[in-house]
């Protein structure tokens, strides 16, 4: 501590030599500042437990490519049928890239151009692979900053159409293999949208009162374009 006082004083005097005239009071002053430091002994058990929780519950890191869901991408969705044909004749594993929001910003409320109130939360992502034309939609992986829902929409001329199904309330954190029972069977070669909504606290989904989770990178709602194909196989569906 004594060495620290000398170093701090030397630094201060280098910046303002006039302070040297008050060396005795400056020493006492800096000494008191140091002495006022609150005791901050971190709990060793807390450190150990938190490490175990962090490394035990987070998925293995994998390369993430950010997919820019720009206005043009949305307009090109009807061409998804052609893309599906290519996929059929290219039997490599098909894995949709997740949209993630690794933002370190705080939560905030924004008003979009459609007057929607949206919630920007710090850590959200979703990963959904191609679906088989069945009644149950399966989300592979969802991470939510706050409790919320995985919502499946029809595609309507490149935009979000009617909601076909909503997941059970997902707690904040990560969820895997999330089933969403739809109001109808998915159709072969159809394209759907999967989006995330933050719950308003009542535990029930309501499109009017729950808020879309936004992608802070794009500024728009976080969603994925999900193709449906009868050729979707377990190999194509993410583990």
């Amino acid at each position: 501590m004594h060495t620290n006082i000398e170093i701090i004083l030397r630094e201060l005097y280098a910046l303002d030599p006039s302070l040297k005239e008050h060396d005795e009071s400056m020493r006492s002053f800096i000494k008191s500042l140091i002495a006022s430091r609150p005791p901050t002994q971190i709990d060793a058990a807390f450190v150990t437990e938190l490490r175990a929780r962090l490394l035990g519950h987070v998925p293995e890191p994998s390369p993430v490519a950010h997919h820019d869901f720009s206005w043009w991408m949305v307009r090109l969705v009807p061409m998804g049928a052609l893309a599906l044909l290519l996929i059929i004749f290219a039997p490599e594993r098909f894995n949709l890239t997740p949209t993630s929001v690794p933002s370190a910003t705080s939560s905030k409320i924004l008003e979009s151009g459609t007057s929607l109130m949206v919630v920007d939360t710090a850590t959200n992502s979703l990963n959904i692979a191609m679906q088989k034309p069945e009644r149950t939609f399966l989300g592979d992986y969802v991470a939510l900053e706050m409790p919320g829902f995985l919502v499946v929409h029809e595609e309507n001329k490149g935009e979000f159409g009617a909601i076909l199904g909503v997941s059970e309330l997902l707690q904040g954190g990560t969820s895997e293999k999330i089933p969403v029972i739809l109001s109808r069977d998915m159709a072969d070669e159809e394209t759907l949208f999967a989006s995330l909504y933050a719950d308003n606290g009542d535990g029930k989904f309501n499109k009017e009162t729950d808020t879309p989770v936004i992608d802070s990178l794009s500024g728009g709602p976080m969603y994925m374009v999900v193709p449906v194909s009868r050729f979707a196989s377990p190999d194509m569906i993410s583990e």
Partner: protein
């Protein structure tokens, strides 16, 4: 040789989970102290620190050295987490830490060592959030100006000048011996 923060991030993203454990060990104490100095409550600080590291491990794939040092990134997460904590628990905004909360609104049971707070709040309350961070990081954590500059932004010289102004502000407001008396009086 100790791996740099950036190297550990790269190793973790390449699949080495132990690399994050090393980053965690490197920063958990620092982040805890940083948060504790802003909240002065052990359980609150632990909750916030856990939140910080969950966000860090979830968002590591978005971090790149081009955005600045890893330390700046994780301290920013911590700073925002503290702000979010107070926003979520209070209706008033513009609260960056415990020193921004008016005296008559503080919940005594949520503050450790109330005596400690009463000692330091007089001068901490006169400083801006940025000045408080510089004081705590330099005086209480013995961090270099360069490292502080990485964390709070700005140049090393600007941090030094702000530190100097903060010291002068306290001395001018309370007098050079008043602060000494403040910390040596027995309650």
């Amino acid at each position: 040789m100790n791996a740099t923060d950036q190297k550990l991030v790269e190793n973790y993203l390449a699949g080495q989970r132990d690399a994050f454990s090393m980053l965690y060990d490197r920063y958990v104490g620092k982040i805890y102290r940083f948060v504790y100095y802003k909240t002065l409550h052990k359980e609150t600080a632990e909750d916030i620190v856990a939140d910080v590291f969950y966000k860090a491990i979830s968002g590591l794939h978005s971090y790149h050295v081009s955005k600045g040092p890893f330390s700046a990134w994780i301290y920013t997460i911590a700073r925002n987490a503290v702000v979010d904590h107070y926003r979520n628990h209070r209706s008033t905004s513009n609260i960056d830490d415990i020193f921004d909360i008016p005296l008559n609104e503080r919940t005594e049971e949520r503050i450790d060592a109330k005596e400690t707070l009463s000692k330091i709040e007089n001068y901490m309350g006169t400083l801006s959030t940025r000045q408080r961070e510089i004081i705590t990081l330099r005086v209480w954590d013995d961090m270099s100006y360069r490292d502080i500059a990485d964390i709070i932004g700005g140049s090393e010289e600007s941090v030094k000048m702000m530190f100097l102004r903060s010291i002068k502000t306290i001395r001018e407001k309370f007098g050079p011996m008043a602060v000494v008396a403040l910390f040596t009086l027995k309650f």
